[in-house]
Amino acid sequence: MTPVHFFRIVGEAIDSHMLDEIVGSAHGGVVTFLGVVRSDSGDGRTVTSLQYEAFEEMALREFETIAGEVRQRFGEVRLGIVHRVGEVRAGEISVAVLAAAAHRAAAFDACRYAIDELKRRAPIWKKERYADGSAEWRSGA
């Protein structure tokens, strides 16, 4: 099994099937995470969309770094990450992470590690746009 990962930053809607191609015949467990824009900001305001912005070359390199850590920690895992940039409306997918492994434990661990680290480290920012016309850059969990 060769370590063929798949990393993209895209400007259009994410089709979660675009990651299916990295799944190989040795993979018995495939775990996918989809991050979806919620209309609830968490502080009572209504979110209409998020504006995502990435330092793309550095973000893609961070994805590679995370994939290396995943394989060190969890063994033979193929990882796919697609992150959308630009305006993403409530209900649309902002990020998809797929982890494929021989068994499900490694696939779950890898997928969760990848999205947690992506959120923590990748140079990608988001601005929340609210129904009242205001907008705000958000960071922190």
Binding site: K119, I124, W125, W137, R138, S139, G140
Partner: protein, 81 residues
């Protein structure tokens, strides 16, 4: 020497441009660039502690020296839920 400056998110908006070219004295450090910018944009002052910098796409320190042709990126905090 000239370097290219890029900024993202709130810092991009504050600097009013996604990128610009800067003329600097030889052996200028990242911190020198920050002070030039902070004179133009006093609102930067409060943001230095939370800002990370990248030199040619790799995380760098404010003490690092720059060379002709470098790309310096200013990165606000990440970590969106």
């Amino acid at each position: 020497m000239r370097i290219r400056l890029v900024a993202f998110a709130g810092l991009r908006e504050l600097l009013e441009a996604p990128e610009r070219s800067l003329e600097l004295p030889e052996r200028a450090r990242v911190d020198d660039v920050w002070r030039v910018l902070a004179r133009e944009h006093p609102a930067l002052d409060s943001q230095r502690a939370s800002t990370r910098v990248a030199r040619n796409g790799r995380l760098a320190s404010f003490e690092d020296e720059l060379v002709e042709g470098d790309e310096l990126a200013l990165l606000p905090p990440v970590g969106g839920g």
